[in-house]
C-alpha cells in the first residue's frame, strides 16, 4: 500500500513492528512500533509514559519524512 503511494512521489514513513517485513516489501522510511496489538502505546505504562512513547515515535516518523535518504532507512526513536 505504502509503495503505491510513494510511487506517485509522496514520501511515506511506515511505522510497524516487524521491521524486517517492511524492508522486504520495499519500504524506504521506517520507524519501529511497540507491538502488533498496540503499535503506538502500551497498556502496561502510565498515561504519561504512554503519551511520551507515542509522541516520541510519531516525532521520529515526522523527522524521517524531512530526511534525505539514498536507501531504505530505519529511524530510531528516543522512547
Amino acid at each position: 500500500m505504502g509503495k503505491e503511494i510513494e510511487k506517485t512521489g509522496i514520501p511515506v514513513v511506515v511505522m510497524c513492528n516487524l521491521i524486517d517485513v517492511a524492508k522486504t516489501v520495499g519500504s524506504n522510511r521506517m520507524v519501529q512500533t511497540v507491538s502488533v496489538p498496540y503499535p503506538l502505546g502500551d497498556p502496561e505504562l502510565s498515561a504519561e509514559a504512554e503519551w511520551q512513547l507515542r509522541t516520541s515515535r510519531v516525532e521520529a516518523a515526522l523527522n524521517a519524512l524531512a530526511a534525505d535518504i539514498a536507501e531504505p532507512t530505519v529511524f530510531p526513536s528516543k522512547f
Partner: protein, 349 residues
C-alpha cells in the same frame, strides 16, 4: 530411522489464540497437535520426537530470548531434521517459522522444512535460507501442506535424489546447481530454439531466472515540514464503531476514509479496531494506539507540521493479498494527490 523435532505456534500447540501469543517456548516430550499428523506421515523413515510450542508475539518480538531458551533445550536433543509450521497465511507465525528454521540450520546444520502461503511475509524474508513449501491460505489445508513437508523429508531420509525447488514444490532458494540437461541437447541448440520462439512471439522459458523485487526509490524529503499537510494511512482496522463501510476483518477487499477534522483524538466507543489478526482490546480502549491522531494533532498545534489532513485512510492488513493492498495504495494515492497532501504516516500492525 531419522529423528525430527517440530515447531508450532500457540494456536496449533493448543495453548490459546491471540491472548496466548506472548507465550514463552514450551517443550513437550511428546507430540502435540499437528505434530501427530506429521509423525504419522513420515513413518517409518523418520520419527518426530518432540513438539516445541511458542507464541507468535514472543518469537517475533523477543527473538534473542526465545532462541536462547530454545537452543538451551535443543542442545540436549539429538535430531536430524527440523520442521516448522505449516503457517498458511498467518504472518507472524510464518515469520516465526522462518526465524526458527534459519537459526536451527545455522546452529545444527540439519535440513529445515516449513510451509507457507505465497502471500505470507515470511516467504520473501526466509525462502533463501530454508525449504518453504507452497502452502494453502488457511488451516483447512493442513493435511495437504503437512503431506508436502513429510514427502520431502522422507526423500531426504531415504537418500533419494532431490529435484529443483519448482519440481519439489518449495519456493526457490536462489541456489543454482549445475546439472546436465536431462534431454542431452546442447546449449547452442537450446538458445537458438529460444530465439526462434521469441522471434515468432511464442512463449519460452529462460534457464536463468533472475528474481526481481520491485523497489521504489525513496521519494524526496519534505523541504518544509512546518507547512506540510500530512495524512494518516493505516492497516490497523480502526474504524467508526459501526464500521459503516463494512470493511472485512480479514482478507480485506476495501478501505475507508473517515473525517477527523474536528477531532483531537480517536475516542473509545466512537472508534474501534475490527482487525481480526490480533487481540483488539488495547486498541479498542485507545484507538490512537493504532492511528495516532492525538500525537499528530499535538505536533500540528506545536507547529512542527503544517496540517493533519482532514481524513484518515484505513483498511485491515491481515490476510489481505498484495494485489488488493497495491490496489488500495493506488486508489488512496490518487485521492491524496488530488487533495495536495505532501506526505503520509502509515501505521501497520
Amino acid at each position: 530411522m531419522l529423528k525430527a523435532i517440530h515447531y508450532i505456534n500457540q494456536f496449533f500447540g493448543q495453548v490459546g489464540g491471540e491472548d496466548a501469543a506472548d507465550a514463552k517456548p514450551i517443550f513437550h516430550d511428546n507430540l502435540v497437535g499437528c505434530s501427530m499428523m506429521l509423525n504419522q506421515m513420515v513413518k517409518p523413515d523418520i520419527e518426530v520426537t518432540n513438539t516445541i510450542v511458542c507464541g507468535d508475539n514472543y518469537i517475533t518480538n523477543h527473538t534473542d530470548e526465545a532462541l536462547k531458551e530454545i537452543f538451551a533445550w535443543l542442545d540436549t536433543k539429538k535430531f536430524d531434521i527440523f520442521f516448522a509450521g505449516p503457517a498458511f497465511m498467518a504472518g507472524r507465525y510464518g515469520v516465526g517459522c522462518g526465524i526458527m528454521c534459519k537459526a536451527v540450520a545455522e546452529r545444527y546444520h540439519v535440513p529445515v522444512i516449513t510451509s507457507m502461503n505465497e502471500e505470507n511475509p515470511g516467504v520473501e524474508e526466509y525462502k533463501s535460507v530454508c525449504c518453504i513449501f507452497k502452502g494453502g491460505r488457511k488451516a483447512t489445508f493442513m493435511k495437504d501442506d503437512v503431506t508436502a513437508m513429510a514427502a520431502f523429508a522422507k526423500k531426504i531420509a531415504r537418500g533419494e535424489e532431490l529435484l529443483p525447488a519448482a519440481q519439489e514444490g518449495y519456493f526457490p532458494r536462489g541456489i543454482r546447481a549445475e546439472i546436465p540437461q536431462p534431454d542431452g541437447r546442447i546449449a547452442a541448440d537450446r538458445v537458438i530454439d529460444m530465439l526462434l520462439k521469441k522471434l515468432k512471439g511464442e512463449p519460452f522459458q529462460t534457464e536463468l531466472i533472475i528474481p526481481k523485487m520491485e523497489k521504489i526509490p525513496p521519494a524526496p524529503a519534505l523541504k518544509d515540514l512546518a507547512h506540510a499537510t500530512i495524512a494518516l494511512v493505516s492497516s490497523s482496522g480502526v474504524v467508526p464503531v459501526d464500521n459503516p463501510d463494512r470493511i472485512q476483518s480479514a482478507s480485506a477487499q476495501k478501505w475507508g476514509k473517515y473525517d477527523i477534522s474536528k477531532l483531537d483524538n480517536l475516542p473509545e466507543g466512537v472508534f474501534k479496531t475490527i482487525h481480526a489478526g490480533f487481540d483488539p482490546a488495547a486498541m479498542c480502549h485507545i484507538p490512537d494506539r493504532g492511528i495516532p491522531v492525538d500525537a499528530m494533532r499535538y505536533f500540528e498545534k506545536q507547529g512542527k507540521i503544517g496540517k493533519l489532513y482532514d481524513y484518515f485512510y484505513v483498511t485491515v492488513g491481515t490476510g489481505t493479498t498484495q494485489a488488493f493492498a497495491a490496489k488500495f495504495g493506488r486508489e488512496i494515492a490518487a485521492e491524496l494527490n488530488a487533495a495536495k497532501v505532501d506526505a503520509v504516516v502509515l501505521t501497520a500492525t
